[in-house]
Symmetry: C2
Subunit: 252 residues, 2 copies
């Protein structure tokens, strides 16, 4: 095991930061690292918005469900899927044709943009952690996505996907145990043995339940499948399809 893999395995979300802003040099190193990630057909289909205006941070914190670490951190990035730039590229070449519009509105192109943006973001996260900073992804940014898009003035075909809080950790949280490797990693085909998959989840449930119980003096002992099942009972952000459509990503 080398230092980089150790760094990756040592990840935990940090939700409390010292009051110390990142330097411009750090911010640029993080953004350049993001840009260095692989990109599908060179499309680089993302834009990163860094928030330096405290009022904007406060508003984003409110829109994300009042998460303090969205307002208080060393720096806050918003990762946006960006198909607007590709539209510009076509325009600059006088080729914003019906075919180009069809590509830009397709489910496939949306997937490409999502994947591109997430690969870039994870490089940013790793870069930040490598210089001793903590990070937390903020999916809650999508809670009130239309308001977030308005606040950040994103044009059509640009979708803010998630935030990334970065800063000097005020305290370290625990590393949360992941699913058993053999539940996540299959060989040559998806495991067809349902009993085996169920058993792995039951074992994991037991581990997670003890993990919570130990850390809360028994106050909490949720099993993983229980938490997941609960999560599924509350469909979230059901406006998404319509929001994408209004932003010229009809998912055709």
């Amino acid at each position: 095991m080398n230092a980089t893999i150790e760094l990756l395995l040592n990840h935990r979300s940090i939700r409390s930061y010292l009051d110390k802003p990142l330097t411009e040099e750090q911010i640029h190193a993080i953004v350049q690292s993001a840009q260095a990630a692989a990109t599908s057909s060179y499309v680089q289909a993302y834009t990163i918005i860094g928030i330096t205006d405290q009022q904007v941070k406060d508003k984003l914190a409110e829109l994300s469900g009042n998460q303090a670490y969205v307002a208080k951190n060393g720096h806050f990035f918003v990762f946006c899927l960006d198909l607007h730039r590709l539209e510009l590229a076509a325009k600059l070449n006088g080729e914003l044709t019906e075919k180009a519009e069809q590509t830009l509105g397709s489910t496939e192109m949306f997937m490409v943009g999502l994947i591109d943006t997430a690969l870039a973001a994870q490089n940013a996260a790793v870069a930040a952690e490598s210089i001793g900073l903590g990070i937390c992804y903020i999916g809650g940014l999508r809670n009130e996505l239309p308001a977030v898009a308005k606040l950040l003035q994103t044009p059509k075909r640009v979708i803010p996907l998630f935030g990334l809080s970065v800063g000097y950790p005020a305290n370290l949280s625990d590393i949360k145990p992941r699913l058993p490797l053999l539940n996540v990693y299959h060989e040559n085909s998806y495991i067809q043995n349902q009993e085996q998959l169920d058993q792995q989840l039951r074992d994991y449930d037991r581990d997670i339940s003890s993990y919570y119980a130990e850390r809360t003096n028994g106050a909490r002992n949720d099993r993983w499948t229980e938490s997941m099942s609960k999560l599924l009972q509350n469909p979230k952000r059901l406006f998404m399809k319509q929001f994408l459509e209004e932003n010229k990503i009809p998912l055709d």
Copy 2:
């Protein structure tokens, strides 16, 4: 700049590998690194299929548009978005309700799964590169996605998203220059000055054109916006929406 950031900035796709398989220890370190990535609400919505059967690799290479490095590498991973496991979690708790089905079929949940899978994959890529291996993402895996899903026997709600070839590099490709940092990184809101964005793209076009010309003795001098515009003229994988629907991800 530290060693990890240097590693990230040094990324290039490797498309030719020595005939030397990865060890099980290396494979497990890569998968564990993938699992250590952040995951939205702990869902861990992915499964990774490692291909050891050469016949399966050959078939995947064929289905991905005859890319040799899908068949010839040190190891080949397929990263799948997996909402099937969450369905199991609900079932194990006797709660595969209408609400749960609604969550599983939503555009939002699809985005969560895509992002989770991509974050994990990028950690895998970084881990592999940190031990001196080269990698190449294979989006071409989606060219014939229904056939790939059949070959890998993925159940409903599991979508193979892309492959990741890994191996000892046979030769190093060049690092491809990215968009200007200030075109990708905005502050506080999306840049509203269209002339500025256009100018950045024109500057980048010039750089990329020289980049290609230098490396091909002038045989190639594509500008970036030109390549992007060309790409958009050929809508790809338009079956995607229907394929997702057939796999119980209707994107509601």
